[in-house]
């Protein structure tokens, strides 16, 4: 009985969403011999957010040094941004998660209170 309603909500009610792919990225060879790279995508369907912070973490969620063009990405509403992440070869085994976290603005009257964070995992 409720399933069609829930499905309708699922299809039509997505007004503020954030996703990141792939779920299970892999490190690949890069043009720098001492570093590996991976490519990720962030999709922003949150009208209240347009900045996302990228982070690479170990299994205990301790930060791991990495390089990308911008660590805080500007992702316009309803747009998808692809970005490359580089990490030194010695850190590739420690890197467990790569996460994107919404950055909430505080400079105007409308202050969203839900911070979304999505983490993909290296296997």
């Amino acid at each position: 009985m409720y399933r069609p309603v829930i499905l309708w909500l699922l299809l039509c009610g997505s007004v503020a969403a954030h996703d990141m792919t792939p779920t299970y990225p892999e490190w690949k060879m890069s043009f720098i011999p001492s570093a590996k790279m991976t490519t990720m995508q962030v999709f922003n369907k949150r009208a209240d957010v347009e900045w996302y912070q990228i982070g690479v973490f170990d299994k205990d969620f301790e930060s791991i040094p990495f390089v990308t063009r911008y660590k805080i990405l500007n992702v316009k509403y309803l747009s998808r941004v692809e970005f490359d992440v580089y990490i030194s070869n010695e850190n590739t085994n420690d890197a467990e998660y790569i996460c994107s976290t919404s950055k909430l603005r505080s400079y105007d009257n409308f202050k969203p209170i839900v911070e979304s964070r999505i983490c993909s995992r290296f296997k």
Binding site: T23, L104, S106, V114, S116, C119, S120
Partner: protein
């Protein structure tokens, strides 16, 4: 006769190549189906101020409980971690203690098979974070109630101003 057959063959083959060229000129729309997790803020939520020393998201006190929906397209690929706030991200200067309480609960699911999510969840960060293994693909709605009381039990009035606290909704690949 042979010339006539050859002519038909040439015309026929040319026609085929024209048709196939036409087919190749079509526009492709590419898409990928892959596992993903989407965090949706279905209801933003805000605090009501029923008395001088309390801020609460409870609707009975003029607040609104935020609703977060997490969609997964693959079973057992992600876990959801939802946390109610334990501090203000912006507020006037506060000289006294704020006591935080809250509750994270499954509000609705897209499948009745997910009915065990709340019972299977665990807590962390002193109970402020609740962790749900998303063992079934589909959508789950989480409600995040939050209450902040000022004065460390002394019921002191919050200083006037704007207060913001942040609910964190995380989707972590397993």
């Amino acid at each position: 006769m042979n010339k006539l057959i050859t002519l038909f063959l040439i015309v026929g083959l040319t026609g085929c190549s024209l048709f196939s060229s036409k087919a190749q000129a079509g526009t492709n729309i590419n898409g990928n189906v892959e596992s993903r997790c989407t965090v949706n803020t279905d209801t933003a939520g805000y605090y009501g101020n029923p008395n001088a020393y309390t801020l609460t998201t409870l609707p009975a006190d003029a607040g609104q409980v935020p609703l977060v929906r997490i969609d997964t397209s693959l079973a057992n690929a992600y876990k959801a971690q939802i946390s109610y706030p334990t501090s203000f991200s912006s507020s006037p200067s506060l000289g006294d203690t704020v006591v935080w309480t809250g509750a994270v609960a499954v509000d609705q699911t897209s499948s009745s098979d997910m009915s065990g999510y709340q019972a299977a969840s665990t807590t962390a960060d002193g109970g402020a974070m609740r962790i749900y293994p998303l063992s079934i693909a589909g959508a789950t709605w989480f409600s995040v109630a939050s209450v902040a009381t000022y004065g460390g039990g002394q019921q002191k009035a919050f200083p006037g101003g704007s207060y913001t606290a942040v609910v964190v909704a995380e989707c972590i690949a397993q």
